[in-house]
Symmetry: C2
Subunit: 256 residues, 2 copies
Amino acid sequence: MSEPIPLDLARLRRSCVECSLHALCMPAGVDAQDLAHLERVVPRRRPLARGDVLFRTGDPLGAVYVASEGSFKTVAVTPAGEEHVLGFHLPGELFGLDAVGSGQHRCEAVALSDARVCELPFNQLAQVAAQVPSLQRQLLRIMGQSADLDHDHVDVLARRQASERIALFLHGLGERLRRIGRPADDFQLPMSRDEIARYLGLVLETVSRGFSRLHEDGVIEVRGRRVRILDARALQAAASGCEGDDLPPQRRRSPG
Amino acid sequence: MSEPIPLDLARLRRSCVECSLHALCMPAGVDAQDLAHLERVVPRRRPLARGDVLFRTGDPLGAVYVASEGSFKTVAVTPAGEEHVLGFHLPGELFGLDAVGSGQHRCEAVALSDARVCELPFNQLAQVAAQVPSLQRQLLRIMGQSADLDHDHVDVLARRQASERIALFLHGLGERLRRIGRPADDFQLPMSRDEIARYLGLVLETVSRGFSRLHEDGVIEVRGRRVRILDARALQAAASGCEGDDLPPQRRRSPG
DNA sequence: CGTCGACTTGACTAAAATCAAACCCGGTGG
DNA sequence: CCACCGGGTTTGATTTTAGTCAAGTCGACG
């Protein structure tokens, strides 16, 4: 910050340890020495305005991203011109790995609000990972976790009842919010009804009706994008397709 | 090649080069020396009968798999007891990476027919990849390609018209068959209508009707599991939702 | 205070699920 | 050789569900 040292620890702290990706990388045991290597990745921070496009379909694989503030969506446009939302990316969640397979992005990433994003050049990341075993393990794990999110999406989309998809979406979003240290049962949706619909393979009216129904049933409270989960158990029941039943046959712990 | 070397190239040839995974690994330039390293992974071959389970939900990450003969499906059971098919895996296609993120499998893999499968211990694979840069690149790429298949699945499931999902499924299957060196327009489905339905988020009757409709329209020929694609262009049109239109409005390059 | 965009709600239509019955085909055994 | 199964598949009739079209309502913002 003051001395002309090209890469110092202070800068590293700012660039990685403080970053929300930190929570993703560190737990599995990356030590200080490894961090010194990681620094070579020199992530860059960028501010974006709502609606700004971070990368476009067809862009060559350049970097992967983590928002430190704000959320993103990734969307793909079908040949017929319909827009599918492939994912929502909350602060601290990695995205952009979709280009690793083919070398170019399969979708475009758009800021859902004003945002600040951390950009990690993928090639450097891979190069460093090749030299530091613990980082390689982490990189593989992170790619796997990213695939897990896609599987979750498939799980939602394969439900045939719109109400299940909607309930599952809300539940899943809550879980992810919890994971990044935010209240899981009281939050502001970063996306519109239309975007939720395009994520769930529905039309926006159906999503709206689904929300209203959950509201009527006392499961959630909704006003615009403000959502409060009143009865998490009932929400899970709705997600499992047990509409009328209050008690899904699924029991977790001791009945206490 | 003639000496009693415990791990010789001849064996390697049998275990990898001849393997259908070979097509996946080699093109990007893994040279002979790298192959010598790869050999340390010592894949094991296993014969399975139709219906046999290769791994189950919750099993710890042990290996990834490639069928040399026969096909597999991966399925997940929802809390409500419904079975979702997450993927079909043709000979030569890698599967089992779903455990990389969490350390345990999220689904179970079942043989759709009598099969022979090649088992690659993942940890050894990662370890070898860490030592051979070109293999590390390949491993990352393969994981990325595996994620691409999930994206394709999402693309299909997000379609709201059953006819689109079905047409897209057939088209995609054809493409994958072509990739493994089989005719893309005349094949035997390795899975039942019910399994297709559970992959597409539909019921089996809807899939059956979809096939019949494509047959009536002269797009395909179906008899049981035997499928012949008569009009690939019309199939793609159907996949894009242009039911009646013969020419999808999809134009790529200069309008000529 | 008015306007615009996002959201909700309602009435109607189209599509897929459900329920139920046949059908086809490969295999078995008489 | 043919009758008879039985699973997987097709097809039909009906019900349920989500999509479509069209008003409204809400709320933020100028």
